[in-house]
């Protein structure tokens, strides 16, 4: 029944995964594959179904439809085996407040079948690595949010997982703490060769450390891939837009630009000119990349202030997909 590791390169494979709460579809026919050893970012607004998807991977909640395979195993049947191999850090993680950090870690290690001595030495090592060695004997109740989050990372790693799932690991930490935590995650995952699945609604953070990103809106994966891939998918949809600013705009220039092969339309730029108040800003929509030609024409017939081919950052991608998702979801 269990096809043990159908494809050894794939850590998680989701096919047509659906989860319904009553009539509300939290996750809607989701297809996703996460490769071993990669850092994958699940990006989406709150309530997009990220946590629900993670819970289904761990067998903590049952899917309404579709299949989940984690390391080729079915979470409904082999939940224990999967939980042994995956470390999961919930978005709002709690510790036993009146116990020390070390105690909390040792407890997790013991639950994973480590002996007392092993657990203690591993816990001490990990506290060192996440930078909490000095606070190991302090009660967790006294910890700050950032310290808890780092302790959470240690707690996830103490079972020596093959994969870690971090649900909103940077929630509620100050920017410096976020950078530190993300660096820590990257370093640890590289050292241990871990597969990392990270969910967040913070674009920059995901951009910083993830190899691939899945954009999640309204329970559906609207885009998935590396950053360039996502930008490209956006560009293909739209024609290329060249932002142009010239000092004196004239109808003659417009006509000449329209005569350039590949240019389909010219419209006024939304924001207006950037630099000189006297300049005029326009957007030239083209079918092919003719930025050079446009520049030459503009320079010949007027004074060229600036020219730029519009590229898409993940920011644009994110905003665009979110808007699209909300429009279709409503």
């Amino acid at each position: 029944m269990d096809r043990e590791i159908a494809n050894p390169d794939v850590a998680v494979e989701l096919k047509g995964l659906t989860k319904a709460y009553g009539s509300h579809l939290a996750v809607n026919r989701l297809d996703l594959a996460i490769r071993r050893g990669e850092v994958f970012g699940l990006l989406g607004p709150n309530g997009a179904g990220k946590t629900t998807t993670i819970l289904m991977m761990l067998g903590l909640t049952e899917p309404s439809g579709g299949t989940v395979r984690v390391f080729g195993l079915d979470p409904a049947r082999n939940a224990l085996e999967i939980k042994r191999r995956i470390g999961y850090m919930p978005d709002d993680l709690g510790f036993y407040e009146d116990r020390t950090a070390l105690d909390n870690l040792v407890y997790t290690a013991r639950l994973n079948g480590f002996s007392e001595q092993e657990a203690i030495s591993n816990a001490a090592d990990l506290l060192e690595r996440v930078g909490l060695a000095a606070s190991g004997r302090k009660k967790v109740g006294t910890f700050s949010r950032g310290m808890r989050q780092r302790l959470g990372l240690a707690d996830v790693l103490i079972k020596r997982p093959e994969m870690i799932i971090l649900d909103e690991p940077t929630l509620g930490i100050d920017p410096k703490g976020v950078t530190e935590l993300l660096e820590l995650i990257t370093a640890l995952s590289k050292e241990e060769g871990l597969t990392v699945l990270l969910s967040s609604h913070h674009l920059q953070q995901v951009q910083q450390i993830c190899d691939r990103v899945g954009l999640f809106v309204g329970g559906r994966l609207v885009a998935c891939g590396g950053l360039e891939q996502l930008s490209r998918s956006l560009e293909e949809e739209d024609a290329i837009v060249v932002e142009l600013e010239v000092a004196d705009w004239s109808d003659r220039l417009r006509q000449s630009l329209l005569n350039v092969e590949g240019v389909t339309a010219i419209r006024e730029a939304e924001g207006g000119p950037n630099g000189l108040a006297a300049a005029t800003a326009v957007e030239v929509v083209c079918e092919a990349d003719v930025t050079g030609l446009i520049a030459r024409v503009a320079a010949a017939e007027s004074i060229l202030v600036s020219i730029r081919k519009r590229t898409y950052s993940l920011d644009d991608v994110y905003r665009r997909f979110f808007e699209g998702g909300e429009a279709s979801g409503a």
Partner: protein, 338 residues
């Protein structure tokens, strides 16, 4: 579940993996959880306060029993040792009354936040993502608290026995000793029922205060209002003075059956029978049944036989509560802090 776990382990034997997963975590994890829970209980202020109250109650009841014994009120049939538990000089309730009153409080106090606090503090979702069975968590909660209660009740019982030895001055017979042990065991079962009820509430209600209140409400209902309701029913259905023996018997049996719906009544009946060997029956007896009977104490086996239904009743009530909390808990989705 057990089977699929075994199966999932089989193919992995051929593939060598990190040493962590070679261990049978599931069974030992249960005892790790029990150990941690026991530690939590023993260290908690709550437990210390409860023990303080119960210890005071015990000493008070022993004092009142001793004064009563000295006053010569309880010299029937020489079971003076057991009367340490049942006798009172009227100023304070006896030991049984204290246990049957404070026992539920102990059970509720130790169990009302078993699950919901872990949930609201976010530790449950972290715990449940470890390789443990979900039901092990619930079982560990129950077993650990019951262990603590057992230890507490038995040490209290032995304390009272020791005080009794010093005050009365002669040792109990082996039968008396066994009777006390059985009584303590019944007390543990009784408190176990309340513990399970409060664990059930802690699974059902997300707020610890709600579940504590629900537990206390049930406790107060049975210890105060249930008797009043029964009185009302009794007045309403009482047969007239002229009615025949069978009517009276039927009425008595009905009232007894209603009374026995209350777990505290079951506990009281079990106690009195175990600690007072002279109790021969828990129901009404007709004259012809009593004729020819010698007013001698019952042997232990017979007393035990008499309270067997009561014990079974308490155990099954406990089981039902546990079954319900199991059912609820297994079907709940565990998200962080919700």
């Amino acid at each position: 579940m057990e089977r699929s776990w075994v199966w999932s382990r089989l193919p992995r034997l051929s593939i060598s993996r990190s040493p962590a997963s070679e261990k049978p975590a599931a069974s030992s994890a249960f005892w790790v959880m029990v150990r941690k829970e026991v530690g939590d209980h023993v260290r908690s202020w709550r437990f210390a306060i409860l023990m303080g109250i119960i210890l005071l109650a015990c000493i008070g009841s022993v004092y009142s029993a001793v004064t009563a014994l000295r006053g010569g009120s309880g010299d029937e049939q020489g079971a003076a040792f057991l009367q340490m538990f049942t006798l009172s000089d009227g100023t304070l309730p006896n030991f049984i009354a204290f246990v049957s009153f404070l026992g539920p409080l102990m059970g509720i106090a130790l169990g009302f936040d078993a699950v919901n606090t872990e949930r609201s503090k976010g530790t449950l979702s972290r715990l449940i993502s470890q390789p443990i069975y979900r039901d092990d968590f619930l079982k560990a909660k129950f077993v650990s608290t019951l262990l603590v209660i057992t230890a507490a009740i038995f040490s209290l019982g032995f304390l009272v026995m020791g005080l009794g030895l010093i005050v009365i001055g002669y040792p109990p017979t082996s039968e008396e000793f066994l009777r006390v042990l059985l009584f303590l065991l019944t007390a543990v079962v009784y408190i176990g029922f309340w513990l399970n009820l409060s664990i059930l509430f802690s699974v059902r209600f997300r707020q610890a205060t709600t579940s504590a209140l629900a537990g206390l409400a049930v406790w107060i209902f049975f210890s105060v209002f249930y008797g009043m309701i029964l009185n009302l029913i009794a007045k309403g259905t009482a047969p007239s003075a002229e009615s025949g023996a069978s009517d009276v018997m039927g009425y008595q049996k009905l009232m007894l059956a209603l009374n026995r719906l209350s777990p505290s009544e079951l506990f009281n009946e079990a106690n009195t029978t175990l600690l007072m060997p002279s109790v021969r029956s828990l129901g009404p007896l007709t004259m012809e049944q009593v004729v020819g009977a010698l007013p001698s104490p019952l042997p232990l086996g017979q007393s035990l036989l008499l309270v067997w239904p009561q014990l079974t009743g308490m155990l099954s009530a406990t089981m039902i509560c546990f079954g319900l909390s199991y059912l609820l808990f297994m079907r709940q989705e565990i998200r962080s802090r919700s």
